[in-house]
């Protein structure tokens, strides 16, 4: 195997040496090589936000950027944010507010909310709307999601 067929990625605090084409968009590596199904393929065009992950604490699209571009950076996926046994306050707030219908956009919403709360621990409603403006939801769960982010912010500040 030559160098140009391997990628080393730091995902959810663990290093993964992968023998794949570095040009492979990150989302396929996450979903198919690592079994992390939380990032969703929605458009492949960086238009909907279903595929968001945190990269060095900032939200980034995973659908269209080669995995090789993420070498040396810390990737956190929804699976690294929380698990059923150890739910993150944002995930808990989404459950409490019933902030999902079909749920396909949900993990992207939670990633965007985590990125917002990391930089702004007490966002008002309009700041939440702005921060989630590029995340699309077709079921119309928006108002419940806004409530969930506010609830999570309160929980994180407590």
């Amino acid at each position: 195997m030559t160098d140009d067929m391997s990628v080393t990625l730091d995902i959810n605090g663990r290093e993964h040496a992968l023998e794949i084409d570095p040009a492979t968009p990150l989302i396929y590596v996450l979903r198919n090589d690592l079994g992390l199904k939380g990032a969703k393929l929605g458009c492949g065009l960086e238009q909907c936000g279903a595929c968001l992950v945190l990269v060095d604490g900032v939200k980034e699209y995973s659908c269209n950027t080669p995995a090789g571009a993420f070498e040396g950076r810390q990737i956190v996926t929804i699976e690294g944010i929380g698990t059923p046994d150890d739910l993150d306050p944002v995930q808990l707030a989404f459950i409490s507010e019933r902030a999902a219908q079909c749920g396909y956009c949900t993990t992207g919403m939670i990633v965007a909310a985590k990125a917002l709360l990391a930089s702004n621990p007490d966002p008002d409603t309009s700041e939440i709307r702005e921060a989630l403006a590029d995340n699309l939801c077709r079921c119309g769960s928006h108002t419940a999601i806004i409530k969930a982010v506010r609830r999570a912010a309160e929980a994180l500040r407590a």
Binding site: K40, G42, Q101, T107
Partner: protein, 714 residues
């Protein structure tokens, strides 16, 4: 009591319930979970009637040969049909089990109590569980009309807060969706569609793509073209190469010389009068105002093609071998899809097993059925290996069947007292019901039209069912004297269409409830008072008054550019009642901002308040998106709405604050609510804009362009 219609084809108690020795209970439904959280509501209903903890109830959703055949999950029927069936089956099972426990415990039935599936009497310490009584046996009997369901006064779960099933998996990103499926030895596939519906494949160098890394098969059948590969990104790359190599005969160009709304009026059509919600064969009466009319108004309302636009492109999994065909789908009906696949492939239904797996929300007939045939065609070329075929954004936007464009002509006459005495509602549209399920030479599955031996879509027939398709909610619930309602099924329209949430009701209610506002304005009446003066149904009046009270209807701003509108409907005139008050602001450029929405709804007995709220509020937001932003665009070469930039939908920054008032009717049947706010929302926005800036919007979407056009036309 009257039994659920779902028992007509599935009468056996064992078709609905299975009691396991460990105390777990499996409830079977023919309906599918697609985000409406019906599995949660069904679990509450079964747990309530059986007195079993909700955590011990598993809901098994649609799978052929395993669950009842309840057709499609559509029409806001799931709670009324399947929910009622599960309630009655659970109550009936409980009666039988209590009889058995009475003998076992030597206690009269009236002395027995049930706690989490454990039955105890009063006179002794003996106890017996449902699981012990069943001992793996089956009931072997049909649910009977003698069933007695629980008195609502004794409820401990219904209407109380409940944790939604599946939410934990969703917020943690655990595998949940069909797109997340993984089976041993599975391959990934993509389809390469023609540039448009008319185009046919003339040449493609398959060998070039077959030689690409990881490619397992290139499948070509007429103009159907797909590729499967070991890895997903390999399938993506191979599909791109295949697309670049494919040569198409583009066929006839679409004629775009006549505006779609003009075509709706001028094309050939089949016109039928609608009486009490049912189309009639017979002459269409003339729209002649009565002699006693003091005033007659008319107006025309327009709705463009809309798309379901699911966030996750459709996907399906299939595995084919000599023994059968296994299919995993997010389509809304597993039995109808099995019939459609059997018909498209000329196979026996028994050869095909179809299991529902949740997909992204679909809101009607989207690409879910089509992608399943795509996956099957690839699977048949790679015997034995499961194929996960995913559409991409472009496939979904360009190929799904859209919600039909509509033209609605209204006319009403009032008497001197300002009462409506004559009402005419003409709806011109393509069909709204083209789900698959045909046999023989016809198929409504997309790939069947492209194969070397193609099948064709069947001829369109007017749907004659009560409040279906074009004529859904075209009949007013108001007392308008003489009403004349006509459906016009228009021929030769340009785009592929089928069912989309609320079908014709969305635009029929938009027209009806906007026109009422026009009449009220012409009379100088308040929009709420004018409605109440024509409405006797007490539940209809209650939701209107509740929404008006919560929104402080009479305290609206009189500032220019700020306004509020009201609208109401009872979905299909027989399901959930919903009233919407919308507060808006309109700027000089014609941009409409939704400030606050107030919903009041009566869905009969409430099982899961938050689930109901999500359906109503989600419906409102989706309808606001259709109404403000959406229209499918095309040119002579085909669809040009191919992504989220060319087909924008509502965003967080556009969504109003929402307050929802739920009127619970514990003694009344469930009323389906999943489509209840679609129509009223559109009209409430239009009415609010008129209130704000005196511009009457009769053409959806309410883009700044259309607002300016309406302002110019006066």
């Amino acid at each position: 009591m009257t039994l659920s219609p779902s028992f007509n084809d599935n009468p056996g108690l064992d078709q609905w319930l299975q009691f396991h020795a460990d105390g777990e209970v499996t409830v079977y439904t023919g309906k599918v979970e697609m985000g409406q959280k019906l599995a949660t509501a069904f679990a509450v209903i079964a747990a309530e009637e059986l007195d079993v903890d909700i955590g011990r109830i598993t809901i098994c959703t649609a799978e052929t040969d395993a669950t009842p055949d309840e057709g499609y999950t559509a029409g806001s029927n799931s709670m009324e049909h399947s929910g009622t069936a599960i309630r009655q089956a659970s109550a009936f099972a409980r009666q039988i089990l209590l009889e058995a426990a009475s003998a076992r415990l030597d206690e009269p039935v009236d002395n027995l109590t049930v706690s989490n599936g454990l039955i105890s009497g009063r006179s002794n310490e003996k106890r017996v569980s449902y699981g012990d009584l069943m001992e793996g046996k089956r009931f072997e009997q049909d649910v009977s009309e003698d069933v007695v369901t629980k008195d609502p006064n004794n409820y401990r779960l219904i209407g109380k807060p409940v944790a939604a099933k599946g939410l934990e998996a969703l917020v943690c990103g655990l595998p949940y969706f069909i797109q997340d499926m993984e089976l041993p030895d599975m391959v990934h596939a993509r389809v390469v569609r023609p540039p448009n519906h008319q185009a046919r494949l003339t040449h493609v160098d398959e060998a070039v793509v077959s030689a690409m890394t990881g490619v397992v098969a290139v499948v070509r059948d007429g103009s159907f073209l797909a590729v499967a590969a070991e890895r997903e990104e390999q399938a993506v790359a191979a599909a791109a190469r295949l697309r670049a190599l494919a040569k198409w005969d583009e066929g006839a160009r679409l004629d775009t010389s006549v505006d779609i709304f003009e075509q709706l009026k001028s094309n050939d059509r089949h016109s039928l009068p609608v009486v009490e919600g049912i189309p009639q064969d017979g002459p269409v009466p003339e729209a002649r105002p009565p002699a006693s009319a003091s005033k007659t108004l008319s107006a025309t309302y327009l709705r463009p093609y809309h798309m379901h636009a699911s966030i996750g492109p459709s996907a399906a999994c299939a595995r084919s071998d000599d023994d059968g065909l296994d299919v995993w789908t997010h389509a809304q009906g597993v039995y109808p899809l099995r019939r459609a696949l059997a018909g498209a492939l000329d196979l026996a239904e028994e050869f095909i097993h179809v299991t529902h797996v949740p997909g992204s929300g679909c809101y009607g007939h989207n690409g879910a059925d089509d992608v399943t045939l795509d996956a099957v065609l690839v699977a048949r070329a790679i015997k034995g290996r499961p194929v996960l075929l995913k559409w991409v954004r472009d496939d979904e936007h360009a190929w799904e069947p859209y919600g039909s464009a509509m033209r609605i002509e209204m006319q009403a006459s009032l008497d001197e007292q300002g009462q409506v005495i004559h009402w005419c509602h003409d709806t011109f549209s393509d069909t709204h019901t083209a789900r698959p399920g045909d046999q023989g030479e016809h198929s409504r599955l997309l790939a069947a039209w492209h194969r070397a031996s193609p099948k064709t879509p069947p001829p369109k027939q007017p749907n004659m069912v009560h409040h279906m398709g074009i004529h859904r909610n075209s009949e007013p619930l108001y007392d308008f004297g003489e009403t004349r309602t006509v459906k016009h099924l228009v021929a030769d329209l340009p785009l592929r269409v089928s069912t989309m949430r609320a079908l014709g009701a969305y635009a029929n209610i938009f027209a009806l409830e906007s026109f009422i506002d026009e009449l009220a304005a012409a009379e100088g009446s308040d929009a709420l008072d004018f409605r109440l003066a024509h409405l006797t149904d007490p539940r209809a009046r209650d939701v209107l008054e509740a929404a008006a009270a919560a929104a402080n209807w009479r305290g609206g701003s009189t500032k220019s550019g700020v306004g509020r509108g009201l609208a109401f409907a009872r979905y299909k005139n027989q399901k959930c009642y919903a009233a919407v008050v919308m507060d808006v602001a309109v700027d000089d450029a014609g941009n409409i901002s939704l400030k606050k929405a107030t919903i009041a709804a009566d869905a009969g007995q409430i099982v899961d308040r938050q689930g109901l709220r999500n359906q109503l509020e989600g419906g409102l937001i989706q309808s606001a998106s259709w109404t403000l932003k959406e229209q499918v665009a095309w040119d002579s070469g085909g669809i040009t709405s191919r992504d989220w930039e060319s087909y924008p939908i509502i965003k967080f920054i556009d969504v109003p604050e929402i307050e929802t008032i739920l009127i619970d009717r514990p003694d009344q049947p469930f009323l389906g609510a999943g489509e209840a706010t679609q129509g009223p929302t559109a009209a409430a926005i239009g009415n609010a804009v008129f209130n704000a800036v005196s511009i009457r919007l009769r053409q959806i979407p309410f883009t700044p362009d259309n607002v300016r056009k309406a302002a110019m036309s006066g």
